[in-house]
Symmetry: C2
Subunit: 454 residues, 2 copies
């Protein structure tokens, strides 16, 4: 059996150090509540907005077949999407295609560069489109309804660029849509232009969609190991279903985060990968955690204004930026280290010349060993200051482990929703700004709102 990731919560416990925190006894006290949350999540799996639990069991052949068919016809894949339509793909590509975006010169067949346009910055958009050759670029537009202003504006800009360079008939060959194909604006455009379309599965919110067509089509087009991602997620699903209480990684993660916030007042949840390839997993998690748990009302409609603050940091780099605050500032944070047991390359540190004798202690070690030492040293040093941390360790950064990590964190989010007693699957708080944007852009029907904005 492929090795599983591990989660270590020891440095959250007051028994083993200076941390003001949980004891073995309090873990036991909370176990039944956590198990009730797990059972509630299992009971809801696959229903309502819990459709993400079914994604690992879907058949990815439609994506891989399309990718095989288009293989060699493009050097660059441009994904246009925002939020949940972009963050998963960015995280996957940073983890599984390291350095691909920076490749220079001609690309090999089946190894296109990937660019994700998840913003409307005009300078950035202009620069990116200047660099891309319309004849050798495939564009994947992702939007469920086709009403997201940012993605649709990007689509209109890119569409005109393709059309003026290659003619209208090229659109069906240079574009592929991920959307609701039967309803919505983008589906209508796709039918009109004859653009190939992939459906978004029902009951899957944007931030839970990375293992659907949203993430898997770009993954297949760029040659990622799609089967490995799903196999890892399936293994995590079996693990989740078969393991109760604190032994369950999703339950343990959610339980610690919830208790650190609500019992000990540690509202800030720092995710700090000690792996550059996992850095954008922390950004994907930021959306998952913030949008799911940051809520004004609980499930009974009472005003609660809850929600932990997910923060991204990167080891060892941010030891030289954030560790001072984490060590000495307010005791309102819990750090999740995201470590890797085995890197693809160790990179030995060579011996210094005689002119640099004080550096001799580094040689004989590797960069991998130094990075592990930094991670371990930081967790220990935080504990000496009474600051809690937990550590998730991946056996290595590969599709299986990344698929498993995604599933574990998605399930942890569902569990945390139950613990906080909020709806983890809606996002009512973003509507007002969307409507105000429409008003400021002069969209018909928003005149009254436009008059109210000062």
């Amino acid at each position: 059996m492929t090795e599983r990731l591990s989660i270590d919560i020891r440095r959250c416990l007051t028994d083993s150090g200076e941390v003001r925190g949980l004891t073995q006894e309090s873990l036991d006290e909370w176990a039944p509540r956590l198990e009730a949350a797990r059972q509630a999540v299992i009971g809801a799996s696959g229903t309502g907005m819990m459709g993400f639990t079914e994604l690992p069991f879907a058949e990815p052949s439609a994506f891989t077949a399309f990718a095989e068919q288009r293989r060699g016809t493009f050097d660059d894949l441009l994904v246009i999407g925002i939020g949940g339509s972009a963050l998963g793909t960015i995280a996957l590509s940073t983890a599984l295609l390291p350095g691909r975006k920076d490749e220079v010169g001609p690309v090999d067949a089946g190894r296109p560069r990937l660019h994700v346009l998840d913003n409307i910055d005009p300078d950035e958009t202009y620069g990116l489109l200047e660099r891309l050759d319309p004849r050798r670029t495939l564009v994947n537009v992702i939007s469920k309804s086709g009403t997201t202003a940012e993605s649709m504006a990007g689509y209109l800009v890119v569409r005109e660029r393709i059309e003026s360079a290659l003619g209208t008939e090229a659109l069906s060959e240079r574009l592929v849509f991920t959307t609701d194909p039967s309803e919505g604006i983008l589906g209508g455009i796709g039918r009109h232009l004859g653009v190939p379309m992939f459906a978004l599965p029902p009951g899957v919110g944007g931030r839970f969609s990375v293992l659907s067509s949203v993430g898997l089509l770009p993954a297949a087009l760029c040659g990622m190991d799609v089967d490995g991602l799903l196999a890892g997620a399936r293994d995590a699903a079996a693990w989740f279903d078969g393991t109760s209480g604190w032994e369950n990684p999703a339950v343990a993660f959610a339980g610690i985060q919830f208790l650190e916030d609500t019992v000990f007042g540690r509202r800030v949840s720092v995710m700090m990968p000690y792996s550059a390839r996992l850095r954008d997993m922390a950004d994907w998690f930021r959306q998952l955690w913030a949008e799911s748990l940051g809520k004004e009302t609980d499930r009974q409609g009472r005003r609660v204004n809850v929600g932990p603050l997910p923060v991204k940091a990167l080891g060892a780099t941010d030891q030289h930026s954030q560790l001072q605050l984490y060590s000495e500032g307010p005791d309102d944070k819990v750090v999740t280290f995201l470590g890797v047991a085995e890197f693809d390359h160790e990179v030995p540190i060579p011996a210094p010349g005689p002119e640099a004798e004080p550096l001799a202690y580094l040689s004989g070690h590797s960069l991998a060993e130094l990075l592990w030492a930094e991670q371990k040293a930081t967790a220990w040093a935080l504990a000496q200051k009474g600051r809690p941390s937990l550590t998730i360790t991946l056996p290595r950064v590969d599709a299986f482990s990344v698929g498993a990590l995604i599933y574990v964190l998605e399930m942890a989010t569902a569990i945390a929703g139950d613990l906080y007693d909020v709806d983890a699957f809606d996002q009512p708080g973003v509507e007002l700004a969307k409507r105000a944007t429409n008003a400021l852009m002069g969209r018909p029907g928003y005149e009254d709102l436009a008059a109210r904005i000062d």
Copy 2:
């Protein structure tokens, strides 16, 4: 006169909306305290660790002359540094050399690609060094003392690579050091190998060093407008010296952040640029703010454990990730929007075809207008939920404005240090993890500590 940036604190005031916050009266009450902080900072300028105030007035010709001399001899500049030796350069290059890193094919003379190795991730390091041609790469190693384990390990790896490809004699031509040239390990290596060296000015901490040799040498080597950066900083210095109270942008920024934290319990300071080119300014600011203000003890040695939490977000993208939490979660955040009045490219949004009539409201506008609308809509929507924000607007993203912004935020940090009554220029909390890393790496003299780490 070149146009200055502006700062607008209106949406922090309770007078003008739903925000629980400051009133015009309370602004007036606090003005004398802020002015006292400004006078204290002016009094300390150029002394102790306030050396950063002198940087805008230094002569950059050594950097530009070296850059001119090396022009055309390298296609890639590799900077090896971490924390304050890296974040400023990354921020400058994202702002002033947009897209440069992604350029493919041969580069023009004087327009090298820039890579900053500010971590020791072995896979990342391996991949980057595989892509770089030692014959066409110039390496700038930055470390004051030469004891920073991460940067020195990176140096040893890169040094061997150059040596094995090109021979020992090539080192003096492919390397340039930014360090203390007379003392320290790196200075000794440089003298031994005949490597050109640039000095770090005294009294300037790493996080305040971007306008010194640390940031300006890479800037000059990549063809940034070094004179413009310094001119912007000098203008901001004159502005700071000549303007009292809330009219002073550094004072206003520091005052708002301090009062939101200490009076209203809003400890989280989100910096949210609505400009992709300014995104890494938020990362640079994260170190500046966290490391300067996150302190265990105040200036009288009393234990206080203070420090706001700087958080990086990016508009419009993070509206689809963090806005839900910022709108509906705990009222513990103040958002600083970082906007741009004029982009280099507007990027008009083309008219949709008849199949996409509901998108017609977007056309006739530009991506720049849509981005402004999103920023304004988000500030307004947050205010409707009682959440404060302030807005800094740059006339455009150019060297002058970026230099001014850097200086304003550095001065704001010094002011905030006075308001929080902490030493804004030390970082005692990072030492323990450094020593623990040494112990785990088997450095002689750390045996006792190694035995204590569990």
